[in-house]
């Protein structure tokens, strides 16, 4: 087991280098980060020179990549523009835990990201737990009555939900529960943000703000996941060991949840493990619609301002998590399925 983990980790190192190199080249060319730095006034040529030197943008791209990777505290910079190196850099590089500084916010990328991480984790975590519970419930419910009317309705609904863009679901929910309810004088839900500005932040208030984004995020995934649960359960439910379990005189409930579900949920484990890291970025559209102050909005803002240290940091964080969760998924799979050996 340990050997497997170590081997997989070593294998992933070149992969992460490849990803970072490709991204670095692309992100370096997505726009002009200096265009918006001067505020309303256009950045003058002299100012632009100074900023480029300061941010290290005057260096050739391979040097910028090396600085991003291992830092620039060993390299003499030309800070006054006379062509002679006169000052050592201060960056330590991502390999020494320094993600660089945001162009726009002028503070470390790690601070920028960790400010935005909790709201996204809260939103996506809740949505994900809700998705899994609902998918298990719906999937088991329809697996127990295959091809009945209820099952057919659920199948049709899943197909429809699965064909919807997430923003259309979000807009529809907003329209129903925030706008129409308000017009009709019913209790309505808030439209934007995480809490009401100017009021003390309470759990109940954040929860109220979370209802619609969580629903928007979960509905499509519930539709997808419950199909897996259903087909997994259908496959298992007719197998011999389930008949044996019934023959032993176990209660239906016990057979279902202890014997059948355990095996039927194996494909779900893979699905969950591989999907979790993508959740961090998956909220882009939803966070945008509901003005949720999380990583998705950070990504869009950074993209607008061509703030590539932030973009690099965000994307590499996700790529790293993908790699880690792939390994974790295999390990968990081996732990719950004794037939598999690593």
């Amino acid at each position: 087991m340990l050997r497997f983990i170590v081997r997989r980790l070593i294998q992933s190192i070149p992969l992460l280098f490849l990803i970072s190199a490709i991204l670095f080249v692309i992100l370096n060319n997505i726009g002009d980060p200096l265009a918006t730095l001067g505020g309303r006034q256009r950045t003058s040529a002299a100012e632009r020179d100074r900023l480029e030197r300061q941010l290290g943008l005057d260096q050739p791209i391979h040097m910028q990549y090396i600085f991003w990777l291992i830092g620039n505290d060993w390299f003499q910079f030309d800070s006054d523009g006379d062509g002679v190196g006169d000052r050592y850099g201060t960056r330590r590089g991502i390999l020494r835990g320094d993600l660089g500084s945001s162009f726009r916010e002028r503070r470390p990328v790690s601070d920028v990201i960790s400010d935005r991480l909790p709201p996204t984790l809260l939103l996506m975590g809740t949505a994900y737990v809700f998705t899994i519970i609902m998918a298990l419930g719906v999937g088991i419910y329809s697996a127990l009555r295959p091809y009945s009317r209820a099952d057919n309705v659920i199948t049709a609904l899943s197909f429809i939900l699965y064909s919807m863009p997430i923003f259309w679901i979000a807009l529809s929910l907003l329209w129903i529960f925030a706008v129409t309810f308000k017009q009709a004088g019913l209790p309505y839900l808030p439209t934007v943000g995480m809490y009401e500005p100017g009021q003390p932040v309470t759990v109940a208030q954040v929860a109220r703000h979370m209802v619609l984004p969580v629903l928007s995020l979960s509905l499509i995934s519930i539709a997808g996941y419950s199909r897996y649960v259903r087909s997994g359960m259908l496959e298992v439910i007719n197998s011999d060991y389930i008949r044996t379990a019934y023959a032993k005189g176990l209660s239906g409930r016990r057979v279902l949840y202890r014997h059948a579900l355990k095996n039927a949920s194996l494909p779900l484990v893979t699905l969950i493990g591989l999907d979790i890291p993508f959740l961090l970025g998956g909220a882009v559209v939803t966070e945008q619609i509901f003005s949720w102050p999380g990583m998705g909005q950070l990504f869009i803002n950074a993209l607008d301002g061509a703030d590539f240290p932030v973009l690099m940091g965000l994307l590499m964080l996700i790529a790293l998590l993908v790699v880690i969760f792939q390994i974790l998924t295999d390990v968990v799979y081996a732990l719950i399925d004794p037939r598999i050996r690593l």
Partner: protein, 319 residues
């Protein structure tokens, strides 16, 4: 039961009948299974109606009418004159969903064509030639798969944005952003197919018919394209069909976030770009109709793809 009453007669009839008709081809069998698939037929009808909508619609309204703005009638709710209402600068939403639908479908079709070409090429090279090419290409595929598609699409949209000039074709001007979207969706969505094609080539190249072809002196090129490719076609076709649905959704996401197709060219996605603001003002018609058309199209394609999978590969299990 009725079945048992006619069984003997039927068998006799069938035998006589069978000797008269040509043996069924593989494609004929697939079409038979497809026709029996109720969902697939529903999907086909839905798509037929949608295509009729955007084709016949463009005969009724001109593109100039779809882009014509009249600020005196802006954000009007649906009425007899404008059945889907009008948008923020007084354009008819009905006419715009017709032309927007054309662009959305063109983008989806062309980007899938691109991604199928890239995915098949990479899959074939990795699966057939193997060795170094295989490991390099598969690492590259993994690299692309390690990033969320939407984020990758947005980065690429920003990267290519504004670099492609407008294109005049068939008397219409297409915004350069249309080409950008086709390219980026094509460049990001080939990974699944590449892996699929690679694995079918890995299995197929070991089979006897390949050995036979090689013994007859067929070149690698002939083996890859004429002998193996037809056998690997079924999953490619299914992936292409479902890929169209995916491409429509992806275009909608990018355009919704404002990085997609730029005005005055409309797509179903870009028409909903300002919708978040319209929500609180109660102007539901601004986002409802383009979204509904997306849902219907994607649903139709998903039904069709599902039926195609069952028809082309009878062994596959349905989820």
């Amino acid at each position: 039961m009725a079945a048992s009453q006619r069984s003997i007669d039927d068998v006799v009839n069938l035998q006589q009948h069978d000797s008269l008709v040509m043996p069924r081809t593989l494609a004929g069998l697939a079409w038979m299974r497809f026709r029996r698939h109720r969902m697939a037929m529903v999907g086909l009808i839905m798509l037929g109606l949608l295509i009729a909508y955007i084709v016949i619609g463009s005969l009724v309204f001109t593109e100039a009418f779809a882009n014509f703005n009249n600020t005196r009638i802006r954000v009007q709710p649906p009425s007899l004159e404008h059945p889907f209402g009008t948008d923020e600068i007084g354009r008819s939403i009905l006419a715009r969903t017709i032309y927007g639908g054309q662009i959305s479908l063109i983008i989806a079709l062309l980007s899938v064509l691109l991604s199928i070409t890239i995915g098949t090429a990479i899959g074939v090279i990795a699966g057939y030639y193997g060795k170094l090419a295989d490991s390099v290409l598969m690492r590259f595929t993994e690299a692309v798969l390690s990033l969320p598609t939407l984020l990758l699409l947005l980065v690429m949209a920003k990267f290519f944005g504004g670099r492609v000039p407008d294109l005049a074709l068939l008397g219409r001007t297409f915004s350069g952003s249309v080409i950008v979207i086709i390219l980026i969706i094509g460049f990001t969505s080939w990974t699944y197919l590449a892996r699929l094609v690679r694995s079918s080539y890995l299995t197929l190249k070991e089979q006897d018919f390949v050995l036979a072809a090689r013994a007859l002196g067929a070149s690698d090129r002939q083996i890859v394209l004429r002998h193996i490719l037809p056998n690997a076609m079924a999953p490619i076709l299914v992936a292409a069909t479902l890929g169209i649905a995916n491409a429509i959704l992806q275009e909608a996401y990018i355009s919704f976030l404002g990085l997609g197709v730029q005005a005055p060219t409309a797509t179903w996605g870009s028409m909903m770009q300002g919708a978040t603001g319209a929500i609180t003002r109660g102007q539901w018609w601004l986002w409802f109709f383009p979204g509904l058309l997306i849902v219907l199209t994607v649903l139709g394609i998903n039904f069709l793809g599902d039926g195609l999978r069952d028809a082309l590969d009878p062994r596959s299990q349905r989820g």
